[in-house]
């Protein structure tokens, strides 16, 4: 029996209204699978922050979600501008977001810190001008 499930989402930045649809879908599917509410919350908050980041900083990207018996693995890949200073970006309150993004309720400098907080493991790989890949694992 194949006990690993994979979902793939293409995130676009055409419509800010739709940002979060992928995270919402993952939440619904994990609930149907009977995953515990605590794990679902951690996965969906971490993924939602990542999804928002892709929309506001990177013009979209791709998210792969892999559910295995012991963990949920998420790989968020974008072709955005990359992160110049990861250490700073991981600091709560630091943000490069402009006023327009802040007026939408984001850009408080909590995105990456929140993603790290809710993940059991997180890795950020970034190349300036090429893009960023964030890998997050949450134990079940």
């Amino acid at each position: 029996m194949n006990n690993q499930i994979c979902w793939n989402y293409i995130i676009t930045n055409e419509d800010f209204t739709r940002a979060g649809e992928a995270s919402s879908d993952v939440k619904k599917k994990l609930r149907q699978m009977g995953v515990s509410p605590d794990v679902i919350r951690k996965v969906t908050i971490a993924m939602y922050e990542g999804e928002i980041n892709m929309v506001i900083h990177a013009e979209g990207g791709v998210i792969d979600v892999e559910v295995s018996p012991d963990k949920v693995l998420m790989v968020l890949k974008d072709k955005g501008p990359g992160i110049a200073d990861i250490e700073k970006a991981m600091t709560a309150g630091y943000s490069t977001a402009n006023e327009n993004i802040r007026s939408l309720g984001f850009g408080a400098g909590m995105g990456l810190p929140n993603m790290k907080k809710y993940s059991d493991e997180m890795k950020v790989e970034t190349v300036i001008g090429e893009g960023t890949t964030v890998t997050m694992a949450i134990n079940i």
Binding site: F16, T17, A19, G20, R41, T44, G105, F106, A108, M110
Partner: protein, 116 residues
């Protein structure tokens, strides 16, 4: 405190979820920045906010927030209302300002209670 109590205390108009007013609310948070809302897990919470876009409803969904109260007379559009209806989130709007709305609920016993 129930959602109905909040509606009465803040003289708010219910915009959707009329059938869920007897649900119990245990905690509250007031914020215009959604990442601040996402930073702390809450229990059966109400979110008070002056921000009015669909990401407020999305944020509430991710946090299992059961009620959103828009302050300063902000009114969500039809897109937001139908999004909330599909997720069993109650939306209400009050003319009261953020600070006063939070204070009113706080003195009646509703606290922040955010935890990791």
């Amino acid at each position: 405190m129930t959602i109905r109590d909040i509606k009465n205390l803040l003289s708010a108009r219910i915009l959707c979820g009329e059938d869920q007013l007897d649900r119990e609310v245990n905690t509250a948070c007031g914020a215009d920045m959604m990442s601040d809302v996402l930073a702390f897990v809450k229990d059966q919470a109400v979110l008070l906010t002056g921000l009015c876009n669909p990401q407020v409803v999305r944020t509430a969904e991710m946090m299992d927030i059961i009620c959103i109260c828009f302050v300063r007379g902000k009114m969500p559009d039809d897109v937001m209302i139908s999004l909330a209806e599909g997720k069993d989130i109650v939306l209400m709007s009050t003319d009261i300002k953020m600070f006063e709305a939070c204070g009113t609920l706080y003195v009646k016993g509703l606290h922040g209670g955010g935890s990791n």
